[in-house]
């Protein structure tokens, strides 16, 4: 069992080989992951990556995987590999709390499409990972259950909202984790934790069973230790789903099989973010510059580009996502599922039932955003706020379209202005946290595929992440470019 721990640092691709040649069993691997979780998650400085771990559930799946392998069944790359799932993605039989008190005790009555596909591929689901409540946050500090910690420095945030997923992959208690990305919630925690995080093109991966935050922005994406691993997971979860009307029938390439260095020099757009210079951590700017040099050295043509309406991205994002969220979260009312408030002295009337259930069940950040979103949609304000934000979104989409139409293959930016900050650093001013999303929200608004991957460490050893964006449906060229960068920099350690 202890032996199996040595496999935990491996990539999916590598451990798949070990499973295939019998060096390790899925049960041993799964047990090692479970032990790692137990060792790292709890206690005073516990990472709190997981909100729920179901040992029996996981070991049963691992046994089934071993059995399949022994019977000579054809096993895919994820068969028997332990993975973690963000708490807002339904896994039938496991809790789906979205890290909120209002869904405490709620057990998912059906599988999300992505969980279904992972299970069908033989993956072993370890449990549900910690997150900012309903996806609202960039630090996982807004979890109603426990704040999560960055494995590189336990005083610091892991990022969010898919903090738990990023932690688990970085702490090597799982080989891959699913997160959800609405404005950067897969990419930013990946960057803070020093792992790879991919947000697919909007519509590439089904949202059926993903508990909605902002319907026109949400996408499920993999968090992994390598780019190849991200491609492997994407192969399993991507593709049209008739249960999601926004899911695309666009042709599905083979991602991991298609990974290869770009066959011609790329034209790489380097975003001019001089306007945001004040907020940038010098180490991040330097690491980014080194990344640009690396890409040039690889033979690609790097040129500075601008996105004229970038300055409106944060405002547009926070109006649109909160508006959609105010509607998506209306169903959490204590009537059909989740937590229902009971009156202290007398039975509540209907309005009391609603206001107490939601008042007690939702955290402060969620309430803030629901109110903001409700306001943005309200009579008399709709045109000025929600309407205007959608117009800005159209302009932002046009910027990206023109950029890629002009021949740019990949746009690169830092993922975040700084490395992971201290727990509690931004609690005074929610806006400060919002503003740090400036590099990731654009790709969300425009529905573009984007990836964060390691590009070095700051002076205290905290990870820094490079951010790459491609045109719609161009996940494969994006992954190829990222893979090449990763190889050239030995996973961001060699810059």
């Amino acid at each position: 069992m202890v032996e199996a721990a040595k496999y935990l640092s491996k990539s999916i691709a590598a451990v798949g080989q070990d499973l295939a040649d019998g060096s390790v069993s899925s049960v041993d691997l799964t047990q090692a992951c479970l032990d790692r979780i137990e060792a790292t998650d709890s206690g005073e400085q516990g990472l709190n990556a997981f909100l729920e771990v179901d040992r029996d559930f996981a070991l049963a799946a691992a046994e089934a995987a071993d059995h399949r392998r022994q019977s000579g069944g054809r096993c895919g790359p994820l068969d028997g590999v332990p993975v973690a799932i963000k708490d807002n993605i339904n896994v039938a039989g496991l809790g789906s709390r979205c890290a909120s008190k209002i869904l405490e005790g709620f057990v998912a009555p059906y599988d999300s499409t992505v969980s279904e596909r992972l299970r069908a591929a033989g993956a072993v689901i370890l449990g549900k990972t910690n997150m900012d409540e309903f996806g609202m946050g960039s630090s996982t500090e807004h979890s109603a259950f426990a704040p999560a910690r960055n494995p590189h420095d336990r005083e610091r945030v892991p990022g969010g909202s898919s903090g738990g997923s990023a932690i688990s992959v970085a702490a090597q208690s799982s080989f891959a984790a699913l997160g959800s990305d609405t404005g950067g919630s897969v990419r930013q925690p990946a960057a803070f934790c020093g792992v790879v995080g991919l947000k697919p093109t909007y519509g590439r991966v089904s949202r059926y069973g993903l508990i909605a935050f902002a319907s026109s922005l949400d996408q499920v994406g993999p968090i992994t230790r390598t780019v190849q691993d991200a491609a492997i997971v994407l192969d399993v979860i991507a593709g049209h789903d008739h249960r999601d009307a926004t899911s695309s029938p666009q042709t599905l390439p083979q991602y991991s099989a298609g990974l290869a260095p770009p066959d011609a020099p790329l034209r790489i757009g380097v975003l001019d973010f001089s306007g945001a210079a004040d907020g940038m951590q010098p180490a991040m700017t330097q690491a980014f510059d080194r990344a640009v040099s690396t890409l040039s050295a690889l033979g690609h043509r790097c040129e500075t580009v601008t996105l004229p309406h970038d300055a409106y991205a944060i405002a547009a994002y926070y109006l649109i996502c909160t508006a959609e969220a105010s509607s998506n979260l209306a169903r959490f009312d204590g009537v059909r599922y989740g937590r229902r408030a009971t009156g202290e002295k007398q039975a509540l009337d209907l309005e009391g039932l609603y206001s107490h259930s939601r008042g007690q069940g939702f955290g402060a950040e969620v309430k803030r955003r629901i109110m903001l979103g409700t306001f943005a949609l309200s009579s008399g304000y709709y045109d000025a706020f929600y309407g205007k934000a959608q117009q800005a979104r159209t302009k932002i989409c046009d910027d990206y379209r023109q950029l890629f139409d002009s021949g740019i293959d990949i746009l690169i930016t830092p993922t975040t202005p700084t490395s992971a900050y201290n727990l509690g650093a931004h609690s005074g001013d929610p806006l400060e946290m919002y503003l740090a999303d400036l590099f990731t929200v654009g790709a969300s608004l425009a529905g573009l595929p984007a990836i964060a991957l390691p590009c070095g460490r700051d002076e205290t050893g905290l990870p820094l992440g490079l951010h790459m964006v491609a045109a719609p449906w161009r996940e494969l060229p994006l992954l190829c470019a990222a893979h090449q960068f990763e190889s050239a920099t030995a996973g961001g350690t060699n810059l």
Binding site: N88, I89, N90, S96, C98, L103, F106, A108, P109, Y110, S112, R207, Y208, G209, L210, I211, A212, A214, S215, S216, H242, R243, D244, A245, T246, A323, E324, S326, S327, L329, A330, R331, F332, D333, V335, R336, Y337, L350, E351, Y354, T374, L377, S378, S379, Y382, Y386
Partner: protein
């Protein structure tokens, strides 16, 4: 004393008769136990998403075409946000700024009444729009608790909105009846107001006669029968008139029709509509209705009630009869099939209207044992004098019980009319011989007594003698002697 014009606009909600719900594949229909026809989508479970049922769109298009609307190529699903336990997601998926159908109109007749000697009045009402939306679930309130049944949640509806062109309670009722008939004709909706598959809200206001500015209107909800449309609207008109004449002001509000107390009363203000914060639903792409889809629907549309009624009056049926026959498309179809097997549309109409329809008792006409061809045949047999009208009723009785062919029944039961003169003469002679008293009375001038003699001949022939022939034979013989 000020005279007021009545202004009425209607919003009719009709459930489209699809097999499945609008955004999930749960069955529609009311026969299941509570919450048996539900799934994560129609109960608003976390993570569920709507997927459009295309069949509902087809039925909606039929309704729009039948009501002469412009069918918009592109329309948008919108979220209407409000909190109520029967609305599982906390919003209803509907259409707001861009509905699938705009404009439209309906010509109909407000029937006159024999009671006050009023005539039928033709009327034309403009429609504003029709849009599609999902229905909510059902609340059941008891003394100590409220329960929710989501079987009805997500059932597809069309909402038909009229311009404020109606001017009386009678017009409103006649309008809804006509819409119902049309929706049933095109198989879009079964029009059952009692079960709630057709519901109607009425907007009523009064304005001083001749003025163009509309008065403040109230909305009446919870009208679930034709009777109630008339009663509720009449009550509200009277209430508003009394209020205005007394110098009062009408409050804009939603009122409920209370069918027990026969009044409208205001809804509690908390139930009033607030800001719905409509916005396009990001989970659904715009609804696109292509030209060829539209053309196919138009092509397949059956003849509508008014055209069918006109055709029947055109071939000589009385207007009242034509209306009865075209009330239900199944009856009109039955009638047409029966006519195809006969050469006498008026007689066929008579049989269908006066004999057949009362046997229906809520069952569909297609379920009767007697088939349209049989009715046609029956009429033919009478016309060819094979059987008398009276015997035909006996045959009809058999047809109702067992179906089959009238000719076969006549043969089997030996019901053919006796028309050969010799045979008849024999019976006539017999009756004359056996009824000297009546014969004497006839000769004395009491000619009406011939009826008795005819009756006797009919009796002796088991009703099979041709009455006309019997009559003329008797007259001849009695005159001879």
């Amino acid at each position: 004393m000020t005279s007021y014009d009545v202004v009425i606009g209607l919003e009719i909600h009709a459930q489209l008769q699809t097999e499945s719900k609008l955004f999930c594949s749960c069955p529609t229909g009311f026969d299941a136990g509570e919450n048996m026809h539900t799934c994560p989508v129609c109960t608003g479970m976390p993570g569920a998403l709507p997927v459009l049922n295309q069949r509902a769109v087809d039925l909606a298009i039929r309704a729009g075409v039948a009501l002469e609307c412009t069918i918009n190529r592109r329309s948008i699903w919108a979220r209407k946000n409000y909190f109520y336990p029967d609305l599982p997601k906390g919003y209803q998926i509907t259409q707001f700024e861009e509905p699938y159908a705009s404009g439209g109109h309906l010509e109909f007749v407000v029937p006159g009444s024999a009671a006050d000697g009023s005539e039928d009045v033709a009327k034309r009402v403009r429609l504003t729009r029709i849009h599609m939306e999902e229905d909510a679930g059902k609340s059941v309130h008891s003394h100590e608790r409220s329960s929710l049944d989501y079987n009805r949640a997500c059932t597809p509806l069309v909402e038909i909105v009229t311009e404020p062109d109606l001017t009386s309670a009678d017009e409103a009722a006649a309008f809804v009846r006509t819409v119902r008939r049309i929706l049933r004709y095109v198989d879009a909706c079964d029009g059952n107001m009692e079960e709630g598959s057709l519901r109607c809200d009425a907007n009523v206001s009064l304005k001083p006669a001749g003025r163009s500015t509309l008065g403040t209107r109230t909305e009446i909800k919870n009208i679930n029968s034709f009777r109630f449309i008339k009663d509720a609207v009449e009550y509200e008109i009277a209430r508003q008139r009394e209020c205005l004449l007394g110098g009062g002001e009408i409050r804009q509000e939603t009122r409920l029709w209370d069918s027990q107390k026969k009044v409208t009363r205001p809804m509690r203000s908390k139930e009033e509509a607030h800001d719905y914060r409509y916005f396009p639903d990001p989970d659904l792409p715009p609804l696109l209705i292509e030209a060829d889809t539209l053309a196919a629907v138009r092509q397949a549309l059956p003849t509508l009630p008014q055209q069918r009624c006109d055709r029947y009056t055109g071939i000589g049926l009385a207007l009242a009869d034509a209306r009865v026959l075209t009330e239900d498309r199944d009856v009109a179809d039955f009638y047409d099939d029966a006519c195809a097997a006969a050469d006498n549309p008026k007689a066929v109409a008579n049989w269908v209207i006066n004999e057949l329809l009362r046997e229906l008792k809520d069952a569909p006409i297609g379920e009767l044992a007697v088939k349209p061809q049989a009715i046609g045949e029956l009429v033919g047999l009478i016309d060819k004098q094979v059987i008398s009208g009276k015997i035909a009723k006996t045959v009809f009785g058999h047809l109702l019980e067992h179906g089959g062919s009238p000719a076969a029944i006549v043969d089997r039961l030996g019901l053919k009319q006796i028309t050969d003169v010799a045979g008849l003469e024999q019976i006539v002679d017999g009756v004359i011989g056996d009824s000297p008293k009546q014969v004497e009375q006839y000769r004395q001038g009491k000619t009406k007594i011939i009826g008795y003699l005819v009756g006797q001949v009919m009796k002796r022939s088991q009703g099979k003698a041709n009455p006309a022939m019997v009559n003329s034979l008797l007259q001849k013989k009695l005159a001879d002697e």
